[in-house]
Amino acid sequence: MAVVFQKTKGLTDTPFHYCPGCTHGIIHRLVAEIMEELDVLDKAIGVAPVGCAVFAYDYFNCDMQEAAHGRAPAVATGIKRVHPDKIVFTYQGDGDLAAIGTAEIVHAAARGENITVIFVNNANYGMTGGQMAPTTLIGQETTTTPYGRKPEINGYPIRVSEMLATLEGTAYIERVSVYDVKHVMQAKKAIKNAFLAQIQKKGFSMIEVLSSCPTNWGMTPVEALNWIKEHMEPYYPLGVYKNTLEEVK
C-alpha cells in the first residue's frame, strides 16, 4: 500500500500534553518537519524552555537540553560554541523569552549567535495558569490583570520581532501565525528560512509565532483562533522583519 502521509521523523511517539485547541502542537510539528526536510535531525541540538513547552525535550526527536526559565539563548550559545557545525535551536514562550529572559535573547541576537529561536507568543503565561505576559494586550484580562491590562499600571506589550530586527547581529526575523491553513503554510516557510539562515551561517534567526491559548483565554479553540486574527494580529503585524538569506526558498 502506498504511504500518502506519515508523521514526521522529527517528532517522537510521546503524546503531546498540550491543552485541546492549543497551537503548540502545530508549531512543534512544523519545526520537526523542517528539521526532517533539511536533513538535520542527526545534528540538531534543541533547548527547551520553562513554560508550556517545558517537556519539548520529550517531543523533538533529537538531542535536547532543558534550560532554566529564560536562559535558553545562553544555553544554546554554550552548545553552539562547542559545536559550531551542529544545528542549535531554542523553543521559547513569551514569559520565558520576553520577560525573565530578555537579557539573554537580546544579547544572543546582538552577538549574531548562529542559532534559531522559535518564539511562541500566546499573550499570557500558559503553564502557570494565565498570568499577564510582556505580550499581553492592553485591556486583556488575565489572572494578574483581572480588570484588564492597563498601561498606567503595566505599561505596554513588547513587539519582540521589531525590537530584535534593529540589531545588526540578526539574520532572519519573521512573525507568523497558525490560525488557518494558509498561515500554517506561511509559518512553515518562515521556520525553514530561519533554519536556512543558520545553515548558511548568517547569524541569529527567530520566528515569532502568534499562538492560541483557549484554556486561559476562556474560549473555544475556534474562538481562540479568531481572537489571534482579530486582536493579536493588528498589534503584532505579520511579516518579515529581517532577511539576509542568500536565496529565499
Binding site: Q65, A68, G78, R81, A103, H107
Partner: protein
C-alpha cells in the same frame, strides 16, 4: 620549563587551559579580572573559545550548554557574581553537568568591597542554590596549589559529573608566586567517556537529554537518592587536608586558603615560644575533612579556627569535633586580615600559660 612567576588569577587560567579547557564564559568582576583577560588572550592561541557574557546569569547558563554538550568548561567570578550564578549552579548539579567554577572571594555582604575575604564558605559548601545538592569545593592556599587543584578539579568534575568549585580569595588571585606547570600534582583517575553529552544524535540510537526536571515525585525522589550515592562516593574519596605538628599539639589552629598561610607562621612562632601548636588545613571544604579531627580530638586541648569572615567554617569544625573539646574562633570580615599577634594572644590564653 622552569618555574614561572605568575599571579594567582593568571595561573588558574593557564592551569585550566593545560587541563584541556577550551571553553570559558565569564563576566568582568574585581578581583578576578585577570582571569578573563588571560583567557581572552590565550584561548584564540590554543583554538579555544573565550566569550564575555552579558551577565553572570548568562555565563553560568553558557557553561550549562557547553558542559552539557561535552566540553571541558570553566567560569570564574567573585562573590556578588557567584550569588547571581546560584540558579544555574543548582541546574548544573541537578542535570549532572561537569564544570569548574572559580570564586575569587571578596568582602560582603552586598556590594561589599574588593579585598580578599572568606565570606562565601556557607554559600559554596552548603548550597547557595535551591534543592538538595552538593558541590565539591577545593580551597588552595598557594599559587602552585591553585594550579594543581584547578587541573584536578576538571578531572573530578568529569569523574563525578558534578560542578567543582575552586574557592580562592582576592589576595590569592592577586599575589604572584612561582608555579611549576610541569610537575602538576594530581591523582590518576579513570575518567568515563561523556556518552551522555548532547553532541547531535549522529548514528546514536538514543537521544541524549540534559535535564533536571522529573515531574513525578517518586521518580524525583529516586533521582535525588542517586545523586546522594554519588555524593557519598565523593565524601569517601575526595577528602583533602594538610595536617602539621598535630601529634603533640595542645592547641590546633584550623584555617583554609590564604589565612592558613598566616596561621602556619603563627604556629611556628608559637612553637618557638614553647607552645605546642598544630595546624589543620582543610583543602576540600566539601567534603569537609573530619578525619584530622577524629585523629586529634583525644589529645588536643582545644581548636582555634581562624577565618577571614565572621565564622563560617567554624561550624563544620564544631561538628567534626562533636563538642568533645572547645572550639574557639577568631576572624575578621570585610577584607581585613586576622592579625598574627591576636592569634598568638588567643593561643596563649587557650593554652592557659601551659607550655
Amino acid at each position: 620549563m622552569a618555574k614561572v612567576l605568575m599571579k594567582g588569577n593568571e595561573a588558574l587560567a593557564e592551569a585550566a587551559i593545560q587541563a584541556g579547557c577550551r571553553h570559558y564564559f565569564g563576566y568582568p568582576i574585581t578581583p578576578q579580572n585577570e582571569v578573563t583577560a588571560y583567557m581572552a588572550k590565550r584561548m584564540p592561541e590554543v583554538g579555544g573559545v573565550f566569550l564575555q557574557a552579558e551577565s553572570e546569569v548568562s555565563a553560568i547558563n553558557m557553561i550549562y550548554g557547553a558542559g552539557g554538550a561535552g566540553a571541558r568548561v570553566m567560569t570564574s567570578t567573585s562573590s556578588p557574581g557567584l550569588s547571581l550564578m546560584q540558579e544555574g549552579i543548582s541546574y548544573l548539579a541537578g542535570a549532572q553537568v561537569p564544570c569548574v567554577i572559580v570564586n575569587i572571594m571578596r568582602g560582603g555582604p552586598g556590594l561589599g568591597d574588593i579585598q580578599g575575604a572568606q565570606g562565601d564558605y556557607f554559600q559554596s559548601t552548603k548550597g547557595g542554590g535551591h534543592g538538595d545538592y552538593r558541590l565539591i569545593v577545593l580551597a588552595p592556599s598557594t599559587i602552585q596549589e591553585m594550579a594543581d587543584l584547578v587541573q584536578e578539579a576538571f578531572d573530578i568534575a568529569d569523574e563525578y559529573r558534578n560542578p567543582v568549585v575552586i574557592l580562592g580569595d582576592g589576595m590569592l588571585g592577586q599575589m604572584m608566586e612561582p608555579v611549576d606547570f610541569e610537575n602538576i600534582q594530581k591523582r590518576k583517575r579513570d575518567i568515563p567517556e561523556k556518552t551522555w553529552a548532547t553532541t547531535g544524535r549522529g548514528n546514536r540510537e538514543h537521544r541524549n537529554i540534559i535535564n533536571s526536571l522529573y515531574i513525578d515525585p517518586p521518580v524525583l525522589e529516586k533521582y535525588n537518592y542517586q545523586l546522594f550515592e554519588k555524593y557519598a562516593k565523593a565524601e569517601k574519596n575526595e577528602v583533602r587536608y594538610e595536617m602539621i605538628n598535630c601529634e603533640d599539639a595542645d592547641v590546633i589552629l584550623v584555617a583554609y586558603g590564604t589565612i592558613a598561610r598566616v596561621a602556619k607562621n603563627v604556629m611556628n612562632i608559637a612553637r618557638r615560644e614553647g607552645y605546642k601548636v598544630g595546624l589543620i588545613r582543610p583543602i576540600s571544604l566539601w567534603p569537609f575533612p573530619k578525619e584530622p579531627f577524629e585523629k586529634t580530638v583525644d589529645t588536643a586541648k582545644a581548636y582555634l579556627t581562624v577565618e577571614m569572615s565572621m565564622g563560617q567554617m567554624v561550624e563544620d569544625v564544631k561538628l567534626a569535633v562533636q563538642f568533645k573539646k572547645p572550639v574557639y574562633f577568631y576572624g575578621r570580615p570585610g577584607g581585613m586580615i586576622p592579625e598574627p599577634s591576636v592569634m598568638l594572644e588567643q593561643i596563649r590564653k587557650i593554652a592557659g600559660g601551659v607550655k
